[in-house]
Subunit: 386 residues, 2 copies
């Protein structure tokens, strides 16, 4: 096991009818900016629950944060934060709204030249403006971590940021919100959380037995609940396990003491930036090729995954490892998610070269747990994903 | 899954040669009371490492905190805290030293009549004196939770306390400390952590799939590393997994959203108070009888435990559940831990009645996850443990 540090101070409030607890979590004297996305919260009743809970608190609203939270939109929100002397942010939404809120939390106290520097110069936020979240779409784990990914359409870029100051003060997780999520987004959420676990697990063994088992526990739970949630999102038991699994998939715990990969995300982000493909689907496009391309260095963990998660007990280590990749592809397909770039666009020629060039330009010369995936290798993996 | 809240702000610093990080974790201007136990830290080098890391910080020492931290001793330490104007506490030890330090953290800011009230009147500590820990004996999980158990020899009592103000600010976990722990204490630590998991798992199913799997993960890891740690405590890989498993067994995570039992601890504490039997061994005495006595209400989880943890695949649900209890007894025996009260004392007659009377006197009329274990039933369980 590698040395590690772990600290996650976010307070989770989980369960039925918990949105009303907003009232006691936000300081009475705060001036709150309520942030949300495309407005679905006004249809499914969540907006009304939030407004009711905050009836006695000064509130300004900012809606319209898009999927893959857009820098230009967030800069509009930042103007509101400053003009209205906002002191507390409340994200009501999925990963995009929460990530956008984290950017605002950082940007509100940033004293550099332009907030874009936070993303391009990797500036860690030690202390941001305090914020809480009401999660409406389980997927990214952003509700219990300190990272965010921001998109800038103008330059077709999608970049990460973070820091210990960007943990939500609290996050409210009411699994009942899942009942009104469209099937496409449910499938995305499952695939997203599943791939988050793989990025922290599918590397090489370092004897971190408990972390491995925790990762496998999340994968097993997601596999079990996926068909139930898709079939009937009002199934509270399945919804609750889906929601908690997504949070645990990326709250820092399972990555402690082990090597992590994240190359699938790095490549996937480019597919979203270039083609606007849903984040989770880009992961499902890249992951299988990535595991096949890096088969030799990953096969020990692939075989363990085969054995413990997919219960593949027969065959050589190589056979099991390979079968597990196929099982993963099959899992994505059963979610209704295509796993080839050509399923999403006819305009894929040259994508591999473009992504490799971007990585070269950014100086990203060695991705993955061994930091040896050069842009040339990235090009091969993306080509395998066509 | 039941509704829950989860917040655990303790910073964990885990790994080789991490004790030196004390230097950056404790505020420069603090006046620190260094608390420890019987002095083993002076033999195994930990004391020297701590002193070196704190060379530039004002330090007062208080050694001699006994196993089952004793109220009278802690009141001596409290005098030092007040006379020396201590502002920060540092526990260097196992669960007893850390629990004792939590009592001091609470007592230092308590403004009631006597600190004993904190224990007898169930007073939650919202904000205590800040403290950190260097863990020298994995077992209790106290390094990452906000609870403590204090003993008063004078009245033969052992009582629990806690509150959100009693999380350590940081805990340093260097698995190398395990190399110098005597076999008896290693066995105790394993049995203690194992039983902590059982108390949060061996109840009845509520559809908390992920929590169940996490609990099983800890049990499986403890079973796997136990013989390795006992055979060779310098085995770093085994030691690291043992240490992290003990912490995860009782840091709050696996109990969220599920019913918990804790009757084994309630009865076990009395055996320590009455006979001075090691805490972990009292759990090994009570647990098997407790599961047999409550077989019908616990057999669904016992059978799952049989299947997933002990890989018992044959037989009826009842058979599997019963076999799993036997496997647990066998596990304790392999650790060198006897599982009958009569193995520890000849003076056991009347113990069951005495404990039942104590519970009646304290108004503890319904223990366990169903809150239906009356003193009469407690008497039966303790008798079965003779």
């Amino acid at each position: 096991m590698n040395n590690f540090e772990f600290k996650n101070p976010t307070k989770i409030i989980f369960g039925k009818d918990t949105i009303k607890q907003l009232e006691t979590e936000i300081p009475k004297n705060a001036k709150v900016l309520l942030l949300y996305g495309g407005g679905s919260i006004k249809k499914n009743g969540i907006y009304d629950q939030v407004k009711k809970a905050l009836a006695n608190i000064e509130l300004v609203e900012f809606g319209g944060i898009p999927a893959n939270p857009e820098y230009a939109t967030l800069m509009e929100a930042l103007k509101v934060v400053k003009e209205e002397n906002i002191t507390y942010l409340l994200a009501v939404g999925g990963g995009s709204v929460i990530d956008g809120t984290k950017f605002l939390s950082a940007a509100a106290v940033f004293d550099g030249e332009t907030p874009w520097d936070i993303l391009t110069k990797n500036i860690r936020t030690e202390k941001g403006m305090p914020f809480g979240t009401v999660l409406t779409l389980p997927a990214t784990g952003s509700e219990m971590n300190s990272g965010a990914v921001i998109t800038r359409r103008e330059t077709k870029e999608k970049l990460a940021m973070g820091g210990p100051g960007l943990f939500p003060q609290f996050s409210i997780l009411d699994p009942q919100v899942i009942a009104s999520i469209p099937k496409r987004q449910l499938a995305n959420g499952i695939a997203d959380a599943f791939t988050h676990v793989l990025e922290q697990y599918m590397t090489y063994p370092v004897g971190a037995m408990l972390q491995d088992r925790f990762a496998e526990s999340i994968l097993q739970t997601l596999i079990k609940v996926a068909p139930k949630v898709l079939k009937d999102p009002t199934n509270y038991k399945a919804a609750a396990n889906f929601m908690w699994s997504c949070t645990m998939a990326l709250n820092g715990l399972i990555q402690k003491g082990v090597p992590t990969d994240w190359a699938v995300h790095a490549m996937g982000h480019e597919l979203t930036a270039l083609f606007g493909i849903d984040h989770a689907r880009t992961l499902a496009i890249i992951a299988p090729s990535h595991y096949k391309y890096n088969f030799d260095t990953k096969k020990a963990k692939l075989a363990r995954y085969a054995d413990r998660v997919w219960k593949i007990k027969k065959g050589s280590k190589d056979d099991k490892a390979y079968d597990a990749i196929e099982k993963t592809v099959d899992f994505f397909h059963k979610l209704g998610i295509d796993t080839k770039l050509s399923n999403y666009t006819d305009d894929y020629e040259g994508t591999a070269e473009e992504i490799a060039k971007r990585f070269t330009d950014r100086g990203w010369l060695g991705l993955g747990e061994h930091q040896n995936l050069s842009p040339d290798k990235v090009k091969e993996i993306v080509k395998m994903s066509y």
